[in-house]
């Protein structure tokens, strides 16, 4: 057979038709497309049965309730739990909690420090024996620091300390501690709460209400429910829904809360208390009075803060202040919340001034006002209540050069989170034996002789009682959503075991038994119901029967430092950057804006006028210097910062944890120094000055 030209053309045409007709080529192309993207290092999806369990975040200070999705018993997502009284959406921190269970920064097994300073593995019995021996040697020279202010583990810490003869049990500083001290000074035995659910006007002074203050997710649910956008109702025609709640905010930085507040009142950092006194004066000028024993003295004090004087000291715009006062007076259920932009260090005096404003608004224990919640229940014999723990100031203890023989830290990272971290690190290094019960290898754990891994909230059973800010008593138990990913045990059970070995009977064999005992205090919810995700709620309030506003303390403690050649430092917190305990969660790294972090250099913000005054411009590399320490940064001109003020975000500058937290900016706590607040026994660090110069 001869292949002529015609035959050849027929063959080509036939081959072409055949290729087009056969699926082989297309199948091959399709497979090639798939298989060239199917590499061994790319994880495969693993399916399975979907189940959901309820939990409460122990990582997020606001105690965000969560619904955890499990696939084949493997947690994969944290979803909101909107029915929970603390719920709504989900916070930027809690939403990454499942992924954080696998964070490279986790402590995976018990570690003991060797003579060369390196860590080596130790088994749990060995670790418990080591700690027991050290505690027996130390006797009453033992101290405990807890970073979980809402959990019952603190009962075990304090009961064990008491059994050993020590009173040194501390909570990490918090807004709750400042509020508790204010209550103590006023003679009120209660926890301050805020009934936002029924408020129609909320003025936050300093308190970063919609980002990091108190019960954040619950606060923000009220924004969702109370500030509906205008919309068309098909059945009723066009109708604008009137907002039922208005948020106003006063603070030095146009932060996340200020972004949606109407209005934002810019004030100097640390001027929250003075502003509250100025508002109190304006309210009294319009006939408002408070039923306090020392109201006369308070009136005299507050009358000094005329609108002009208040404006001079705080930098507030008198016109805007007048608008806010008018709004407070015309609201049906207004409430004022005084706090700190970074949830710490304000001292108690601003809270006293804030309480006075609320008393003038006659909203104490009223619907939509301030709620005086009963103190948290104590179920363990010999344990200290939360109020008793709040009375002890950790900064004062460190400043007093106290050196216990054994220091036990539970979910606390004072080496990162306290002012002047270098001094705190030195103080902790001087302790002969220090132990950290920690989920992550944080800065404090890295200094310890023994590091004991504890589970994430999802890997352990734990509880949460009335986090600061909630408007009613709430008790929740978070069950174990996941099998532990690492070789972990709980702080509570480890210490209960050690106590038993030491012959100390704390009344409970297991932490779960203590939680069951606590559940009995809540009539409507059994232990099982609580573990299943329901919260026990109580509307009980402490009667306000005789109290003092304590103008004597306010007169001494409420001052505003005036800037000279330095700028006022305004630290502010953002929950997406994690906490001192967690560092920056891996999944949250991408939420950092280019304007917040440039490589390893963080940005600090001043407004245009302040930048010009200091000869600085946008993009400059600068150094912030408090006279003792310096931190490098990149300057950003942001017009949402108060005059003569430099705003710095917390959460940067981790030296421990993992690559997601390290080499990112500097720790602003380096620039802060705790100073005793007159008359209150607390320390404050909300007013600091720093020199900002080009590097």
């Amino acid at each position: 057979m001869v292949l002529d030209r015609r035959g050849f053309m027929k063959f080509i045409a036939g081959a072409g038709t055949g290729i087009l007709a056969t699926p082989v080529v297309w199948k091959f192309t399709d497979d090639a497309a798939i298989w060239t993207q199917n590499w061994s290092w790319i994880p495969r999806n693993e399916g399975g049965e979907n189940t959901y369990v309820h939990a409460v975040s122990k990582m997020d200070p606001s105690g965000t309730p969560m619904r955890v999705r499990l696939v084949n018993k493997r947690p994969v997502r944290v979803l909101p739990s909107p029915e929970h009284p603390l719920g709504g959406g989900i916070s930027s921190l809690a939403v990454a909690e499942v992924q954080m269970m696998h964070s490279p920064g986790r402590v995976k097994r018990p570690l003991v420090k060797g003579p060369d300073g390196g860590f080596s593995e130790i088994d749990w019995p060995g670790a418990a024996e080591l700690l027991q021996g050290k505690l027996e040697e130390a006797k009453d020279r033992v101290a405990f620091i807890s970073g979980d202010e809402n959990g019952s583990t603190n009962e075990i810490l304090s009961a064990l300390a008491k059994a050993l003869g020590s009173e040194d049990v501390f909570l990490m500083p918090s807004e709750g501690q400042c509020a508790a001290k204010a209550c103590e000074l006023m003679g009120i035995e209660a926890q301050l709460g805020y009934d936002f659910e029924n408020s129609d006007y909320v003025l936050a002074i300093g308190a970063n209400l919609l980002e990091s203050w108190g019960t954040v997710v619950r606060n923000r649910r009220l924004l969702k429910e109370g500030q509906a956008a205008p919309f068309r109702n098909e059945e009723k025609g066009v109708k604008e829904k009137t907002p039922v709640i208005t948020f106003a905010y006063a603070g030095p930085v146009q932060n996340n809360t200020a972004a949606v507040a109407r209005p934002w009142l810019p004030i100097y950092p640390g001027a929250e208390g003075i502003l509250a006194l100025g508002i109190a004066n304006m309210l009294m000028a319009r006939g408002k009075v408070a039923n306090a024993g020392d109201f006369g003295a308070f009136r005299t004090l507050a009358s000094r803060y005329t609108p002009e004087e208040t404006a001079r000291l705080t930098g507030v715009d008198p016109k805007k202040l007048e608008q806010v006062v008018t709004a407070l007076l015309s609201a049906k259920a207004p409430v004022v919340v005084v706090g700190s932009e970074f949830n710490q260090g304000s001292g108690a005096a601003p809270l006293l001034a804030g309480f006075a404003v609320n008393a003038l608004l006659d909203n104490i224990n009223k619907v939509g006002g301030v709620a005086l919640l009963p103190p948290a229940v104590v179920a363990m014999k010999g344990a200290s209540s939360r109020a008793e723990l709040y009375k002890k100031d950790l900064c004062s203890w460190f400043a007093g050069k106290n050196t216990p023989a054994v220091l036990v830290m539970h979910e606390a990272n004072p080496v990162y989170a306290l002012p002047d971290p270098a001094a705190v690190a030195e103080a902790i290094k001087a302790v002969p034996f220090k132990v950290s019960f920690s989920t992550f290898m944080d800065e404090s754990a890295a200094l310890c002789d023994l590091v004991l891994p504890i589970g994430m909230g999802l890997e352990r059973i734990d509880d949460l009682e009335s986090p600061y800010g909630c408007g009613k008593t709430i008790y929740c138990i978070s069950g174990m959503a996941s099998i532990p990913q690492e070789n972990i045990r709980s702080t509570a059970n480890t210490l209960l075991y050690i106590a038993r070995q030491m012959g100390q009977d704390l009344g409970f064999e297991l932490f779960e038994d203590l939680l069951k005992a606590k559940a009995l205090y809540h009539e409507k919810c059994s232990f099982d119901v609580l573990v299943a995700g329901q919260a026990a709620e109580s509307d009980a309030l402490v009667e306000l029967d005789g109290y003092s506003l304590r103008p004597d303390i306010m007169a001494k403690a409420l001052t505003v430092k005036t800037a000279t050649d330095t700028l006022r430092l305004a630290p502010f917190a953002k929950l997406n950057l994690g906490t001192a305990k967690t560092g920056i969660p891996p999944y949250n790294n991408k939420t950092l804006r280019a304007k917040e972090l440039d490589g390893a250099l963080m940005t600090v913000m001043v407004n245009g006028a302040t930048a010009s005054q200091k000869g600085l411009s946008d993009g400059d590399r600068v150094t912030l210097d408090n006279g003792k320490r310096q931190i490098p940064a990149k300057l950003r001109v942001f017009e949402g910062v108060m005059n003569d003020t430099v705003a710095v975000c917390l959460g940067f500058g981790h030296t421990a944890l993992d690559e997601f937290s390290q080499n990112k900016g500097a720790n602003v706590m380096e620039l802060l120094t705790a100073a005793p607040e007159p008359e209150t026994g607390l320390n404050a660090w909300s007013q600091a000055g720093v020199a900002v110069s080009k590097s």
Binding site: A229, A259, N607, A609
Partner: protein
């Protein structure tokens, strides 16, 4: 541009910028839901993979008149897609009831024409292998396959959730599409039966998701006849499915490239009668 396809159901969003505080919960929820790998150094935004980004907006006024707003930007799911028009391998198209613009990763050859074409910068090139810290891959969801490096990715309005929601309707013996009282076809998936991960997570309720064509859905009511509603780059004619709401004129003005002498157009002048 390709011929515009109209659908009975048009999934869309109304994002209230007066409620958004810029916390980033939506961004993290999106990453966790759609299996986006974390990056230790995410400061170089040209190399970071995000399906949803929250941008900071400023009214550009000096202190104390300065205002700030935050704008979450998912894929705008255009009805007239600049991206699909330029894709040489038909890796992205909008041809399914619901109006979601697909992204078919095995087809994508990584040419990035679509990224150049997208006026919203909503598309991202996968520069790196998707590597999770050891063990973190256990937290991947089974719903969204992990994409290799070298392809373009984008928000899918959590399309897998739509598929699950439809499956649920079918499993319960119902039809996915039914005729409503207005005589039009609507999706039988209930309003809360299909919600994107970002809308679900938002603690402020700033992101509302639903069928823009369904008068019973909140998203429809939020944007219809609302003088505060606008869409990004409306005058490009991309007919997006993401509406923004703000009572602040300066925010609405940032929604398009207005000339200095131009007035911000009223939504009625530019928004379509029908979604």
């Amino acid at each position: 541009m390709s011929a515009k396809k109209e659908f009975n159901v048009k999934w869309g969003m109304a994002i209230d910028l007066d409620k958004c505080t810029g916390c980033g919960a939506c961004m993290v929820a999106c990453q966790a839901e759609n299996n986006l790998a974390p990056q230790a150094d995410a400061s170089n935004k040209l190399r970071v993979m995000n399906w949803l980004v929250v941008f900071e907006l400023s009214n550009k006024k000096a202190f104390p008149d300065h205002e700030v707003a935050y704008l979450p930007r998912p894929c705008q799911q255009c009805a007239e897609q600049p991206c699909a028009t330029v894709c040489p391998v038909i890796a992205t198209e909008r041809n399914e009831e619901g109006g979601i613009v697909s992204q078919i990763y095995p087809r994508c050859i990584g040419c990035r024409y679509c990224m150049a074409a997208c006026p919203y910068h909503a598309r991202y090139f996968n520069w790196f292998d998707p590597i999770w810290p050891k063990g973190m891959e256990k937290a991947l969801t089974p719903d969204v396959s992990v994409r290799p490096r070298g392809v373009v990715e984008k928000c899918s309005f959590c399309h897998h959730r739509f598929m699950y929601a439809k499956d649920k309707v079918r499993a319960e013996g119902g039809n996915v599409y039914v005729t409503g009282p207005d005589g039009k076809k609507h999706c039988a998936v209930p309003e809360d039966g299909y919600v994107t991960s970002c809308a679900e997570a938002c603690p402020n309720g700033a992101i509302v998701f639903g069928d823009l064509n369904n008068p019973r859905h909140t998203v429809h009511r939020l944007v219809t006849g609302n003088d505060n509603a606008f869409r990004l780059l409306e005058r490009l004619g991309t007919d997006t499915a993401v509406y923004y709401i703000s009572s602040r004129e300066w925010v609405r003005r940032l929604g398009d490239n207005y000339l200095d002498e131009e007035e911000t157009q009223k939504p009625k002048q530019i928004l379509p009668e029908k979604h």
